[in-house]
């Protein structure tokens, strides 16, 4: 809101320079966003918080200034000389809906419509309002000056010189001042006439009775409207005006008669007309006055420091509160323009902001208990550190995704009722589809082909326990594309299944939890999503947990997404890495291990894990470790078969092993492998 300094000075004296005034207002809760011009021509740009409708006008700001500097607030000049026949004979006002309009006031003015004088036009231009004619300009002037919106009707154009304040009839039509023909539906208040409606209650006037050059008599209206009714109407109409902005936040029910008098006073002052005798006042639903009790001790207990009694009382009185005799609990009558003040704590705030928050000493409350990261919070930090340490870059993608959500197994989707666009209409069921894939595409567009990403964030779906537990869970998504991290000394290679599987294994090792069991994909939901022979799903952590997978994107999906190469993706349940059991240390080995290699040739389709299982079965109790160290499928290995080299380590905690006992275990292994129909190389 714009406040010209010259206008302020009409109501309060102050010596502070404008920048100082701006700082002081800001620190009292009226944030000055900017200052235009200098000295008395300066205009303050105030950002008034939505609760302070009383400061959305010059006079209200002047009241704050008067408290800031202990300077008297001058009353608004509202004296008028009435002329002609009584107003009530010329204009009839009926309020049919007191719940909509507790108070409706009117005055009848005889006017000479014409341009406003220069000083009035100048003021309006300072606050960004376009001057039109003296009557309309004065309604705007008084609204800016004291916050009461008003409307001027051409009495001659008002059918039967009568107004009925009522709810709109369903489908009722009205041409508003902005030139729009509006069809009214629902609970919208109107200023009705004998036939039809003249204006939207508290929002905007109508065109049919607009003041024009030929207007001789004006019916001037000022009302107090029910705030929620105006708010609902403005929202339903999609129409937010200076008037509705003030009314929906609660204007001053005592302001309408004052505003009418103020306008009549100014009208006479500029020589543009006179008021007829009598105020028409339909105060059909008087507003209750608010009285609040304030205990001075409460001020200290909330602020943490006392404020002098005289200071508290000076602040409240200056702001228009009537403060009763000093006692344990003061009786405070709230001024009618402060609808935002309803209880004791509101008064504490008034005192605090004019006392100055800067004057309250800073303290730090002692901590009563020791807290720290919870296990899941520690886990999430460690997951991020580990994956960043393993060369992945963390991304954060939007929780809302396009309507189709993406492929793969997913619970029923949660949809937004009011999305910003169809691309953001559904809450994501997955981090990979489509979040990580779109992050990949963003970077491919920049010519980045080697992309390694992870995201740890919540996914959403309807099949979770609902609504007590939220329908959301944490997921970890991984994506690898392009070449594996390389060095100039070695040939580059593309990332493959084992890179992403290795990351999962790394996490399991670093969290001290069992390595997951990687199983072939099961179920039709994977068709055309992941490569059936280069992907795996993880054995579920517990029954009922969501599917976790690692694998290569299916070529059909790669083609549909117009990617050149298939990325590897994984989606995991971080609960899998919940910190494992505490570690019990095993005694260090005192006797050396004996190592042997076995190379076995099997059909290409035989999983390595089958070979290792066979070895473990046949080896006997001395075999400590067994692992695949090489896989070879070129001649002399026959086509369709592979040679797996398996390293065996034997050890006994209590003694040194003899060559014979190791050899007899190796012989047993070789015999068992041969019995499966597999060949042993180098024997």
């Amino acid at each position: 809101m714009k406040v010209p300094i010259g206008w302020l000075r009409e109501f309060v004296d102050f010596t502070a320079e404008v920048p100082r005034l701006a700082d002081d207002l800001t620190l009292a809760g009226l944030a000055v966003d900017g200052i235009e011009g200098k000295g008395d021509d300066a205009v303050l740009d105030l950002d008034v918080t939505t609760n302070r409708v009383d400061c959305m006008n010059v006079y209200g700001v002047a009241r704050e200034v008067s408290v800031l500097y202990g300077s008297a607030l001058r009353p608004l000049p509202v004296d008028i000389r009435e002329e002609g026949p009584p107003a009530s004979g010329a204009w009839t006002i009926d309020v049919e809906a007191p719940e909509l309009c507790p108070r409706f006031c009117g005055r009848v003015l005889d006017v000479r419509v014409g341009p406003s004088p220069a000083w009035l036009r100048g003021r309006l231009e300072q606050v960004g309002v376009r001057p039109i004619d003296n009557v309309v300009d004065l309604t705007n002037y008084v609204m800016i000056e004291m916050g009461q919106p008003m409307h001027a009707f051409d009495l001659a154009r008002m059918p039967e010189a009568r107004i009925v304040v009522r709810w709109a009839r369903p489908g009722e039509k009205l041409l508003t001042l902005d030139g729009q023909e509006r069809t009214l539906q629902g609970r919208i208040g109107v200023i009705g006439a004998a036939r039809g409606a003249l204006g939207l209650a508290g929002v905007m006037g109508g065109a049919s009775s607009e003041v024009s050059d030929s207007t001789r008599t004006v019916a001037l209206e000022a009302a107090y409207w029910d705030p929620p009714s105006i708010r609902r109407a403005a929202k339903a109409l999609g129409l937010h005006t200076e008037a509705s902005h003030r009314f929906e936040r609660g204007a001053d029910p005592e302001a309408p008669p004052v505003a009418l008098a103020r306008l009549a006073h100014l009208l006479a002052k500029i020589g543009a007309g006179t008021a007829r005798p009598g105020l028409i006042d339909r105060y059909v639903a008087p507003r209750p006055r608010t009285r609040v009790s304030l205990r001075p001790g409460r001020i200290t207990s909330v602020l943490g420091a006392p404020v002098a009694v005289s200071e508290s009382r000076r602040i409240l009185s200056g702001l228009g509160f009537a403060v009763g005799e000093p006692s344990e609990a003061w009786t405070v009558d709230v001024p009618t323009w402060r609808g935002d003040v309803t209880r004791e704590i509101d008064l504490v705030e008034e005192i605090a902001r004019h006392h100055g928050l800067g004057r309250i000493p800073s303290t730090i409350p002692p901590s009563a208990r020791v807290e720290g990261l919870r296990p899941t919070q520690r886990r999430d930090r460690k997951v991020r550190e580990l994956l960043a340490g393993a060369g992945l870059i963390e991304v954060i993608t939007y929780s809302f995704v396009s309507v189709d959500g993406g492929p793969g197994p997913a619970p029923p989707l949660l949809r937004l009722a009011n999305p910003l666009s169809a691309e953001q209409a559904v809450l994501r069921p997955s981090t990979v589809f489509p979040g990580l894939l779109s992050a990949l595409r963003t970077n491919l567009r920049q010519g980045r082909h080697d992309v390694r990403l992870f995201e740890l964030g919540r996914v959403f779906g309807l099949d979770r326990a609902f609504p007590e537990a939220a329908p959301e869970e944490l997921r970890l998504g991984l994506l690898l594309a392009g070449r594996a991290p390389g060095h100039w000394s070695a040939a580059a290679r593309a990332v493959d299944f084992y890179d992403v599987k290795g990351l999962v294994e790394l996490l399991a090792i670093r969290f001290g939890v069992p390595r997951p069991d990687f199983q072939p994909l099961a179920g039709p939901s994977w068709d055309a999503v992941l490569h059936p022979n280069q992907s795996a799903q993880l054995a579920p952590l517990r029954p009922g947990r969501p599917t976790e997978y690692v694998g290569l994107l299916h070529p059909d999906l790669v083609a549909r997404l117009e990617l050149k190469e298939a990325p590897l993706v994984a989606e995991l349940d971080p609960a899998r890495f919940d910190l494992g059991a505490s570690i019990r240390v095993r005694a260090l080995d005192r006797f050396p291990a004996v190592e042997r290699d076995v190379a076995v040739v099997v059909e290409a389709a035989v999983p390595a894990e089958d070979v290792l299982a066979e070895i473990r079965r046949a080896a006997g109790p001395l075999l400590r470790e067994v692992q695949v160290v090489d896989k070879y499928d070129r001649p002399p290995v026959p086509a369709g078969r592979v040679s797996l080299t398996v390293a065996l380590a034997y050890q006994d905690p209590a003694r040194t092993l003899t060559g014979d006992e190791v050899q007899s275990s190796v012989d047993a292994i070789v015999a068992a492998l041969r019995a499966r129909g597999w060949d042993i190389r180098g024997e």
Binding site: T49, G304, I345, S362, L373, V395
Partner: protein
């Protein structure tokens, strides 16, 4: 004999100088000391043909020559050996300016880094980190926070609603206040922060429809506005440095009273006024205030008993945007960069 010995000595000295490597030295050794064809060996054998006096003198000279040759060859051998180490080291020279073989290196998102920094400060002050859900209902997001239906403040937070179940996406992490107080293991004391994603229907250079906040709540007997000030000053000084002033000014939030906006002296210009602080010298950094008694009353009503008696307990709450902190720290002027996931942006942070 004497002449022969002298000539041999001169020959040896000359040839030793010319001998370039180990094989030449070996050849030299064979030629002079070889058991079969060595020149000194041959002369030793010839001693027998001399008379006794002559033999004694010649024998002595010959022994001296032999020692001279042996020590000359040994010294040369040692020299040659050390030469070949030097040559090997020269051959093994690496170009130390080529890039090293770096272990894989990724990064955390700058908002993760900022969030964990903020969390660490509050953890050190004894706060608990509380995670609330992102999908919320009207009660936790608005009603319990003193924003009943039709409250104008709801306009400040344009809300995403879900199509089903009357649910919504939380517009602020203040929901954590309500959730924690309802499930508080040690009522009425509260000392938490609640970080997380929030959602508002806004999308432009300064607004992202998804962003992150940290809410804080401290409740107990005797908690004051002075505690709010001291805590926030300590936090901002820990985060940005004690050289930046902090100021508190009255504001408005429906769920706090008094409500307080917190400004930090501009970290870019040091308070002189610049584009970032819009020439004011101050950056709006966070909102805060004393918990509104209506919030305690709403929680009590839901609990069915008075757990947080507004006459007995007070509290303060605060909230700040994590993006705001990261933007101030790194000089970022477009909030959407955080969510575009362009590696050209993400790789600028050490993570």
């Amino acid at each position: 004999m004497k002449d022969q010995v002298r000539a041999l000595r001169e020959d040896f000295d000359r040839e030793l100088k010319a001998a370039g490597d180990a094989s030449a030295l070996q050849a030299l050794r064979d030629r002079y000391l070889g058991r079969k064809a060595g020149a000194i060996t041959a002369l030793m054998k010839a001693l027998g043909a001399l008379g006794p006096a002559e033999r004694r003198v010649a024998g002595q000279e010959l022994n001296e020559l032999k020692t001279h040759v042996e020590s000359g060859l040994d010294a040369a051998r040692d020299r040659a050996a050390s030469d070949s180490t030097a040559q090997r080291l020269a051959r093994e020279r690496l170009d130390i300016t080529l890039p090293g073989r770096r272990p894989p290196h990724g990064r955390r998102h700058p908002l993760t880094a900022a969030r964990e920094d903020l969390e660490d400060i509050f953890l050190a002050m004894g706060y608990e980190i509380f995670d609330g859900p992102e999908v919320e209902d009207d009660y936790h997001c608005f009603e319990a926070l003193n924003m009943p239906a039709d409250h104008p403040a709801r306009d400040m937070q344009d809300t995403f609603y879900l199509a089903e179940g009357g649910l919504l996406l939380r517009t602020h992490t203040s929901t954590g206040q309500i959730r924690y107080m309802l499930s508080n293991p040690h009522p009425p004391d509260v000392r938490i922060i609640c970080p997380g994603k929030v959602y508002r229907r806004d999308d432009d250079i300064t607004h992202s429809p998804m962003f992150q906040q940290i809410e804080g709540l401290v409740v107990g007997k005797g908690i004051t506005l002075g505690d709010l000030k001291g805590t926030i000053e300590a936090f901002l000084h820990a985060l940005f440095g004690a050289q930046f002033p902090v100021r508190f000014r009255p504001s408005y939030f429906p769920y706090t009273e008094p409500s307080v906006e917190v400004d930090l002296g501009c970290v870019v210009c040091g308070g002189k006024g610049c584009r970032v602080c819009k020439q004011t010298g101050w950056l709006e950094i966070m909102g805060s205030g004393m918990v509104h008694p209506a919030v305690f009353e709403a929680v009590n009503a839901r609990l069915g008993r008075v757990v947080y008696d507004p006459e007995e307990v007070t509290g303060f709450a605060f909230g700040l945007g994590i993006e705001r902190v990261a933007m101030v720290r790194h000089g970022i002027d477009n909030i959407r960069l955080f969510y575009e996931n362009d590696l050209r942006f993400l790789e600028q942070f050490p993570g």
